[in-house]
Point group: C2
Chain length 186, copies 2
Amino acid sequence: MRKNFGAKPVFFPMPVLIVGTYGEDGTPDAMNAAWGCLCAPNQLSLFLSAGHRTVKNLLAKGAFTVSMATAKELVPADYVGMVSANDVPDKLEKTGWHLHKSEFVDAPVIEELPLTLECRLVRYDPETTQLVGEIVNVSAEESVLGEKGQVDPALLDPICYDSENSQYLRLGEVVGNAFRDGGALK
Amino acid sequence: MRKNFGAKPVFFPMPVLIVGTYGEDGTPDAMNAAWGCLCAPNQLSLFLSAGHRTVKNLLAKGAFTVSMATAKELVPADYVGMVSANDVPDKLEKTGWHLHKSEFVDAPVIEELPLTLECRLVRYDPETTQLVGEIVNVSAEESVLGEKGQVDPALLDPICYDSENSQYLRLGEVVGNAFRDGGALK
């Protein structure tokens, strides 16, 4: 039996994206966002309402970073989503994360998060809340790279957000034998 | 050490979204899309180039469904992403999936996929490839609902796409003790 729920924001998996910015005065900030995805081979879209400090910052600087939250960094990743820089201006300091400025854009790289997309602002529309960023560079810690130099999700150990149950999940094992690998249709 | 990769579409996790449509003549179609996310409490965005049969269909009908691919349905979910309806018009028939028309929009519900977002077309922009849908209804099989009536990801068993390694992954276990549950910052 199928049950109808009406309109509802249900989606699996949702990412846990840590969006890093600098304020006009250089204060770093980060927030946690689940509504985002790639939208072109060198672009991503996030949907962020205009009240976020992050949005003010990236409009001022024209840049931001997007890092994938990992199981190891669960507590600070959740913290930056629960607390607003509008209320706690030095919230990023409380995470204990170490930062350096991206070589490519005017935004912080969080050293504890091993995979970061360094982005230039393309456009932001406060009405639709769509933020488009050009991925100028992807940087990854060598510790999360597999044999062929690609990012290995088992080493990265990224998390996803389950909004239905207000919890975070790990990614699990590879599901093998897809059609591309010779798996047969019934 | 961090390694720089330049511009590259890396993102974890990416969903495996099965987009269902009817053609003008009523022929059902489905495709597999990884670039999509929620963009409002009752809307989602997908990024699909205009050449897809799916896009032609949803522009004609003003409707589409988005179902989460599951580990159990890995082979047909991958198949509909590997084969184009422009080449194999009856591709959906080959999956063995059973379909019925959504009660709410003019698009097919795939019975083997237990979670479906039934959407009305809001807009499509061939230049940015952004498709926005209004989620009119979410339907879910009772077999994937937890005790409180919410979707339980352990029961749904959705997969995500790993484009770095061209493979699919399960979602894994809950990562506990986030900040919201009392987890302490260092």
